[in-house]
């Protein structure tokens, strides 16, 4: 099959997927910002893999989907992972708890929420730890760009990244504000962690991904602070390589999508 991968990079997990799929006999093209032109010329592929959540790739994904070419993960669900409010509602639908949050200008926060410090500021349209900052004072708030409008109540506790691939789970303790590539220590998943992942993947039919969570020190309650549907699995702590598993899941999902469109 002729497969396209929409990805920011040609290397790392994307590169490994390309090699694995080529070894299975497929013809694979990686579309990065260098060669991704979004028009009907893209449509001569049998299916696409949406690896990146950046805007042009999401647009390309939506274009490909609407034109009837199978793509996985679903571009609309991927967009919702990236948008903080959509992600909040995805978590709410699945019955997961996330921190209380607020939307407003810096002035509105100062005028109405000073007593709520510490807060965590995040970009409205960016998942992960990029641009995440702790707000302990007006000075911290003043240092932010004007376009920052999303704030969460800071949860005091331990941060974890929880990867899942089908029924396999790998959990690691994550340093605050770090990316998934930081050095992390594996921990055994607790029962409530397993339940959270089950609720998430079952409700939204997500076969692999990750959830960033914080276990609150005072209550042991787990808050989900960030979902992701296509991590690099840098801290996947099991001995086996996640790449072949992911590729095979995608190949199966594409077959299902093709059957459903017939």
């Amino acid at each position: 099959m002729k497969i396209g991968i929409l990805s920011k990079r040609e290397i790392t997990f994307t590169g490994r997927m390309k090699h694995y799929l080529e070894d299975l006999g497929h013809e694979v093209t990686i579309f990065t910002a260098k060669n991704l032109i979004i028009n009907d010329n893209l449509l001569d592929h049998d299916f696409f893999i949406l690896k990146s959540k950046k805007l042009p790739y999401l647009y390309a994904g939506r274009f490909i989907k609407e034109k009837g070419v199978p793509i996985f993960p679903d571009p609309e669900l991927t967009y919702k992972h990236k948008h903080r409010l959509d992600a909040y509602y995805l978590m709410q639908q699945a019955g997961l708890t996330s921190p209380p949050f607020f939307v407003g200008t810096k002035e509105a926060i100062k005028n109405h929420l000073r007593e709520e410090y510490p807060l965590v500021s995040k970009s409205l349209m960016d998942s992960g730890s990029k641009d995440v900052k702790f707000i302990n004072s007006d000075d911290d708030l003043n240092s932010l760009n004007e376009d920052v409008i999303y704030y969460e109540k800071k949860i005091k506790g331990t941060h974890y990244i929880m990867y899942f691939i089908d029924n396999e789970i790998s959990v690691s303790e994550k340093p605050p504000l770090s990316t998934e590539h930081a050095k992390m220590k594996e921990v055994a998943p607790s029962e409530d962690m397993v339940n959270i992942i089950k609720k998430w993947k079952d409700y939204h039919d997500i076969p692999f991904g990750h959830l960033d969570v914080i276990k609150e020190e005072s209550t042991n309650k787990i808050y989900v602070v960030d979902p992701g549907n296509f991590p690099e699995f840098t801290n996947w702590k099991h001995d086996d390589d996640p790449c072949p598993k992911i590729c095979n899941i995608i190949l199966n999902r594409i077959e299902e999508l093709k059957k459903n469109t017939l």
Partner: protein
């Protein structure tokens, strides 16, 4: 807005939520409005709209989806094209890639700010290149340009939808006459345009909108722009029509 608000206050109680002062607290949602009308498309306003839709049963005009799709040019092109509405050929290209068409307009990808179309025109032998200044200001933000194939048309057609009422105008294209109101005139209701406007606004879920068309030499109307927050002062008695429509949609 002032004329509209003055009228609205004579027929209902009005609370105004201004983006700069608005603080949305998702753990404390309590509103007693019977309807919300949205005159804006900034991220805070949109967050408010999303919250109202998800947390209450209060009607809201326009919907989050409608507003969002209307300002995302590429997404609305995909949806309108799929619905069978003629739109000019389009392409989203990396900034360094050559243009995909001989005659084209580069438009801003995200039309979320309230700035008017400001074209930079380059005419060469048998080719026309138009770049909207707003698109050039996006340079470096997305690293992509949104190209739309240029449609030559004597007139630009502008149709307003307010609920089930339609208002028809034409004017010289802005590229010919930058002062769009100078040549604007009312035209007779046009069934073909009405059908296209109904299909387009229903496709992206807009109850109040303005929709622009250009007519090709072959007589095909191409939809070139759709706006969820039109300036209804341009419609005769517009503020009253909008006010009455909103009141009629309220839940009580």
């Amino acid at each position: 807005m002032s004329e509209f608000l003055t009228y609205l206050k004579t027929i209902s109680d009005v609370s105004i939520y201004i983006e700069e002062d608005l603080l949305i607290n998702y753990s404390n949602i309590n509103f007693d409005e019977d309807i919300f009308f949205v005159k804006g498309k900034g991220d805070i306003i949109l967050s408010f709209v999303k919250m109202i839709e998800n947390e209450t049963s209060i009607p809201i005009i326009n919907s989050y989806h409608g507003i969002w799709v209307a300002f995302n040019r590429f997404i609305n092109c995909i949806m309108l094209e799929k619905a069978g509405i003629p739109i000019p050929a389009y392409s989203l290209n990396p900034e360094e890639e050559p243009p995909p068409f001989k005659n084209y307009i580069i438009k801003n990808l995200i039309d979320q700010q309230n700035y008017a179309f400001k074209p930079k025109i380059e005419k060469r032998y048998r080719s026309l290149k138009v770049k909207d200044e707003r698109a050039l200001n996006e340079k470096g933000k997305y690293n992509y340009f949104f190209y739309q194939k240029f449609i030559r048309s004597k007139w630009e057609y502008k149709i307003y939808r307010i609920g089930e009422d339609y208002f028809y105008y034409k004017q010289l294209p802005v590229l010919v006459e930058p002062d769009k109101m100078k040549t604007r005139r009312t035209i007779e209701p046009n069934p073909e345009l009405k059908k296209l406007v109904i299909k387009a606004t229903n496709t992206i879920d807009l109850k109040i909108a303005s929709v622009d068309f250009l007519k090709s030499k072959k007589g095909i109307y191409y939809l070139t722009d759709i706006n969820s927050t039109p300036n209804f002062n341009y419609i005769q008695n517009g503020p009253v029509l909008i006010g009455d429509y909103i009141k009629a949609q309220a839940k009580r």
